[in-house]
Symmetry: C2
Subunit: 435 residues, 2 copies
């Protein structure tokens, strides 16, 4: 399971020649299982062993000081890291949503509540254009779609991703066609539809939607279609590396001691690790140990269960949790996550829905950050890991919030309301005990 | 109606001496009507003539290059402009939400649709921490509250402001107590309550809430309470100047030709003008003409009506529009807005609710920006102004979006949904005419 990240060798002429696309430092796709290389293109599975493909690079090693300066003088978005991403050099000049460079919030109030004596930070990705980290990954997928000549941007989604794809396509001038289960909440449907692309409700479950999308990719109808989380997945996934880059740059080009990352497919955690290792290999940060912790909701905790049971294999589950953006019962990158948590000395943990809600409120009342359920999962798991002695509260810790509470109002609504209802006079105010 | 903005004179010793607070370059409050000066404090109306008070400064004139460099090397938030705001010099080191420096989006797709041949930009304030421009004004109010020793942060609100105050108070470690009409939509109540402060529902209308707050300020119960939009209003309002500063800095220290600003109380537009004139006086931008346009919803358009009728006085109306964040029927700064629109050669216009919805969708499908109804008002009014020949499409124009579509989903929900509902197979997809 060697993950190739940094190569200073000459790019292999993996392409057939004429049709090799230009995506910055990306030189080929590489199988994460067998290392087989294939040319850059809309491929996602190794033809030799069916393993997942990821982007392999020829990264600019050798002069970290020059690279650091180039990054620091770059755009206030993920494009400052273009030299480390599968995107063309002039990516910032193309119409896109310019996601990233979200706030790294020093969370002293939360630290006090959690008994953290070291530094605690929240990386708050609700500040992205459509208010979730999905804008990062979709932005990279858009560049791949452009490079491969795709004219329709597509995905299967239950919410955040649909909005991110619709918005990014609108801005980029691409057609979009997004597939969702037909019975989603109206709010999510509005968010997916408002950007004016095609939105197709599928009579069936999210699994049915996914199966239909795979069918579409294999059919002539799907020609010219880039499914960000299927045939563009290797590129799309790389967008999560930017979370690692930003955290280290915002800390003053330093690795944090500990990072707590939510797990849906596990891709984000895997790519954050990849990003950290790249920064070390490039000499942008000092090479010292860091620990990565994975966070799941108890109602969809296949990776956490495998971790606790000492398994290498992740047994699929049927999700049942309010943390719907993390509700992937068969996480593709589960085994890689286990590997990373064990290699770095981290752990994988889960919390139940009640604690997720509690953690959302804790983060809101201490730091003024209203997180979506996934943020409740990471904060809740951080608390549990500290209580259980698995996360060292005297070290520097970064907790990810990947989305916005406005998108998961239902999670907190039943237990969040006015302190009191009064008549508009001082007597009534006094009677309520608030004076 | 002379608005004093830049003074290089020695600050007047307006205070009684010992208790003069230190708020950076702010030297006193000054009546916008009679010019009377009073010491910095929680005052909002002139004791001489009952006119509104605003902050008067001793601004750092004389070395624009040094000031520009200081700003550019400052924090990525409104605090880069601390030398021009009523805040202590070390404001960025205090726990706050660090709002501002939101994206100025070059809106080429929208420009094409509107027939704009010059440059068109959207200043997108949905990128603020609680996703509206209110974070700017509240952040300044928090500093004033700290300076005056207030321990409770309060406001009357119908939505955006409640969330902004709750979040800012939580982060700053202040108590908050926010007043809302008791029958608000659940989503807004959740957003106001989640930050853990006191949230009081008032049995009555928004006007009843306001009246109750005034009563509270006059009562001993209200001692130590800072109402951001009442007794802290002069400071709070200054936060809107940062929109002007950011627009000019993001354009490369240049005034735009035209700006389209929404009107609720009118304070934002007034302060944007104040900010632009400060930049000119400080030598940070070239002194050349600019036009400011005001935008209202037809269902609450008292300033637009007065403008069109050539009146100097604004006649109050009873609001009836989906643009609830702009629904102030008796806008305090209405006369100042009329003055500015006429002085700069701009105009004030309004659009009906159907066009507001159309404009929200237009902005979403062209630029991937999902605006709240107030953004629909500014985009809709921009279109109307161009169609009517009042806004020059060959010039450089900046349109403000002050909030987030996620907060006003109801406005677009009835007309925004899936293109098709299909069964999960290719035949059904073909039948829907989407292949």
């Amino acid at each position: 399971m060697a993950v190739q990240t940094v190569s200073s060798s000459t790019p292999e002429p993996a392409s057939t020649g004429a049709d090799q696309v230009s995506l910055g430092p990306a030189v080929s796709l590489s199988c994460r299982e067998c290392g087989e290389r294939v040319p850059l293109g809309p491929s996602f599975a190794c033809t030799a062993c069916f393993g997942p493909l990821e982007v392999a690079y020829d990264l600019p090693v050798g002069d970290p000081e020059a690279l650091r300066k180039r990054i620091e003088s770059g755009p206030s978005s993920i494009w400052r890291y273009a030299p480390l991403l599968p995107v063309p050099e002039d990516v910032a000049d193309k119409p896109n949503l310019n996601p990233g460079l979200t706030k790294l919030v020093k969370a002293d109030n939360l630290a006090r509540e959690l008994g953290v004596t070291g530094s605690l930070y929240v990386k708050d990705d609700s500040g992205n254009p459509t208010h979730s980290f999905k804008d990062r990954v979709v932005a990279i997928a858009v560049e791949a779609a452009r490079a491969f000549g795709f004219t329709t941007l597509s995905c299967s989604s239950t919410g955040n991703l649909a909005g991110a794809v619709g918005a990014a396509a609108a801005r980029a001038g691409l057609r979009s066609c997004v597939f969702i289960p037909h019975d989603l909440e109206q709010g999510k449907v509005v968010m997916a539809a408002v950007y004016g692309g095609e939105l197709v409700g599928i009579e069936g479950t999210y699994d049915d939607v996914n199966r239909f999308c795979s069918e579409l990719i294999g059919d002539p109808i799907g020609e010219g279609w880039g499914f960000v989380n299927v045939n563009l997945r290797p590129y799309y996934a790389e967008g999560s590396k930017t979370l690692a880059y930003e955290i280290c740059e915002q800390l003053g080009w330093r690795l944090p001691d500990q990072i707590v990352v939510p797990i849906a497919s596990g891709s984000q955690l895997t790519k954050i690790d990849k990003g950290l290792r790249e920064l070390i290999a490039l000499g942008l940060v000092e090479d010292r140990p860091y620990k990565i912790f994975g966070a799941q909701a108890e109602g969809c905790s296949p990776v956490s269960q495998a971790y606790k049971n000492g398994h290498d294999v992740v047994r699929p589950v049927r999700p049942d949790t309010i943390a719907k953006s993390l509700a992937i019962g068969n996480p593709a990158d589960g085994p890689y996550v286990l590997d990373i948590a064990r290699r770095t000395g981290g752990a994988v943990e889960d919390v139940d829905d009640a604690r997720v809600v509690e953690a959302i409120k804790l983060l809101a009342r201490t730091e003024g950050i209203f997180a979506e359920t996934a943020g409740g999962v990471t904060v809740g798991v951080t608390k549990k890991l500290i209580d259980d002695g698995l996360l060292d509260p005297s070290l520097e810790t970064v907790v990810l919030n990947t989305g916005d509470g406005l998108k998961t109002l239902d999670a907190v609504a039943p237990t969040t309301g006015p302190t009191a209802i009064i008549r508009p006079n001082l007597d009534s105010f006094r009677e309520a005990g608030l004076a």
